[in-house]
């Protein structure tokens, strides 16, 4: 027992000595000319938006349009990497949906791609739309399905080599959240009527408290889509940062001995990312339908008892 533990201690000491040696080597290698930081910076560039499209043979410069001035705001509408993959995933969603619909109409028993799409459609209808919004929610089913498939394809494209995750750009998720915000308000106004919708903003309390309640309720309208935006953005970025940190270990140690760790963990994180891509698309859709359902439930009376919180 004693021999074992001392041998173990020796091994640990050797290992830590070699690790600290390689750290020292890495740090001393990072002397001015060689730029250790530059390598890391290049890794992070992979996550950023850029005007270049990378593919196995090299890279392609994407078109750059001059910015447009509307009022005091400047809009740069040039096609960047993220915009390219956003448009590509929109195209994929359209083509797959049309193909699946055609295929399912032809035969009564769905198979292949038609079957795959139908599984998701039925899942969103029966597990997301109807439980959260009731039968009236079926009106908004096309919107929920579009959101789900669009986010799913955008997330998955980022996992393909040379692909980029559009949803890891905060502007993209903010746009998605803006659409969700508009749909939540539209659903609430259509279900309750404009009068009840505005009355709900006062929280149903005595008028003397309105100066407090109305700003709080209005703020509450905006925090939900903001959380949607930040959640998708942070989740899609998080996995990539972990992957880059693992790959960064190779650059840090400059030794093939550390290779097994990044490879094993990289594969595991990639598999986790596959799950997260699906989960985040589901959660975005789920929460959107939940918030739409909150606004729609008030039509069943006693809205103030339930919502005056």
């Amino acid at each position: 027992m004693r021999i074992d533990s001392s041998a173990l201690a020796d091994t640990v000491r050797h290992a830590s000595a070699s690790v600290s040696d390689s750290v020292h080597a890495a740090v001393s290698n990072a002397a001015p000319g060689q730029g250790e930081k530059l390598d890391f910076g290049h890794l992070l560039d992979h996550m950023k938006n850029s005007q270049e499209l990378e593919f196995p043979g090299g890279h392609l410069e994407l078109p750059h349009f001059p910015p447009i001035q509307v009022g005091g705001i400047t809009f740069d509408l040039s096609i960047s990497k993220h915009v390219f993959f956003l448009l590509l995933s929109a195209l994929i969603v359209m083509l797959v949906a049309v193909y699946a619909a055609r295929r399912n109409r032809k035969s009564s028993v769905p198979s292949g791609v038609g079957n795959l799409v139908e599984v998701f459609v039925v899942f969103i209808r029966d597990e997301v739309a109807v439980p959260n919004m009731g039968k009236g929610g079926l009106t908004y089913l096309p919107f929920l399905l579009t959101t789900f498939f669009f986010i799913l394809i955008m997330n998955l494209i980022g996992l393909i080599p040379y692909g980029a995750t559009s949803t890891s750009n905060v502007s993209v998720t903010a746009g998605l959240a803006l659409v969700a915000f508009i749909m939540i308000q539209v659903a609430a106004i259509r279900a309750q009527g404009l009068k009840h919708y505005l009355a709900h903003l006062s929280g149903g309390v005595h008028w003397a408290l309105w100066p407090i309640m109305i700003p709080v309720e209005i703020l509450g309208l905006f925090t939900k889509p903001f959380a949607l935006c930040m959640r998708l953005f942070a989740n899609m970025n998080g996995g990539h940062i972990v992957l880059l940190a693992l790959i960064g270990l190779v650059l840090l140690f400059r030794s093939p001995a550390v290779a097994p760790l990044p490879v094993l963990f990289g594969v595991a994180i990639n598999l986790l990312e596959l799950f997260v891509a699906l989960l985040q698309a589901y959660i975005f859709t789920m929460l959107t339908s939940l918030f739409m359902g909150f606004g729609m439930q008030s039509e069943h009376g006693d809205e103030h008892a339930e919502h005056a919180h």
């Binding site: 959380a227 930040m230 959640r231």
Partner: protein, 75 residues
């Protein structure tokens, strides 16, 4: 320089604290869900759905705090 260093320190500490809180909350949530599923396996689907919703809401609050950390770190 000094102020920058303090901002980085604050961001790092803040991120760590946020993750502690969120992990504790979601862990409790998962434990309760598993207990409920064990007692009544027939409502597992409903319990899982409400767990995902609550977990997502906790996560939302976490991201608000993380956004502050990111702002501090990129100042």
């Amino acid at each position: 320089m000094e102020a920058n260093a303090l901002a980085y320190l604050g961001a790092g500490l803040g991120a760590g604290l946020v993750v502690l809180g969120a992990a504790f909350g979601i862990g409790k949530l998962a434990a309760a869900t598993m207990e409920a599923t064990g007692r009544q396996p027939e409502v597992a689907g409903q319990v899982r759905t409400s767990m995902i919703i609550s977990a997502a809401l906790i996560e939302g609050a976490t991201f608000f705090a993380l956004a502050i950390c990111i702002i501090l770190a990129t100042k």
